[in-house]
Amino acid sequence: DQQVKQNSPSLSVQEGRISILNCDYTNSMFDYFLWYKKYPAEGPTFLISISSIKDKNEDGRFTVFLNKSAKHLSLHIVPSQPGDSAVYFCAATINTDKLIFGTGTRLQVFP
């Protein structure tokens, strides 16, 4: 029972362009969503989050959009840089309890 889904296992984007990573969830009780970035041989690092009372949160080149009616969120990276190449995990939680992670999307940014 995969409550958080990332249906694209990989994404390839040219440097300078926009990267859009998608995430869908099934549990309408989730009230807080997070994106983590993971480099090889390292643990995931927190990137950006959004509360269910908002529909957008922005931090520099990173913006997360939340569509509650569609149970969908997306991470936009503009402009994409080679250093953004990593695996991105979407995660969700209820009342800041345990995180439920998606399966991840591998982003490759090429010159």
């Binding site: 807080y32 041989a41 643990g43 995990f89 800041t96 345990k98 995180l99 992670f101």
Partner: protein, 113 residues
């Protein structure tokens, strides 16, 4: 501020052997988590501690896995006996009270042969 420390970074054992992993969370973080990440999947929670008490161990295979956090600081996760399907990266994370932003250690990659 020092991050979450884990050791060892890599471990190779044969099936039916035992293994232990160690985690030292960020100073002052009351909540500690152990996750299992199988190749191609997202991290899956095994156990959550609040100080030295267990909050959630519903997904911990208790017939072979055990974990403790005796003094509310560092923690150990043990597998005994190991199975082939236990091959994974074991991640430890800690969190300041109720903020949801978890800080992860580098993980221990376990290979069971």
């Amino acid at each position: 501020e020092a991050g979450v420390a884990q050791s060892p970074r890599y471990k190779i054992i044969e099936k039916r052997q035992s293994v232990a992993f160690w985690c030292n969370p960020i100073s002052g973080h009351a909540t500690l988590y152990w996750y299992q990440q199988i190749l191609g999947q997202g991290p899956k929670l095994l156990i959550q501690f609040q100080n030295n008490g267990v909050v959630d161990d519903s997904q911990l295979p208790k017939d072979r896995f055990s974990a403790e956090r005796l003094k509310g600081v560092d923690s150990t996760l043990k597998i005994q006996p190991a199975k082939l399907e236990d091959s994974a990266v074991y991640l430890c994370a800690s969190e300041d009270r109720g903020l949801s932003e978890q800080y992860f250690g580098p993980g221990t990659r376990l290979t069971v042969t």
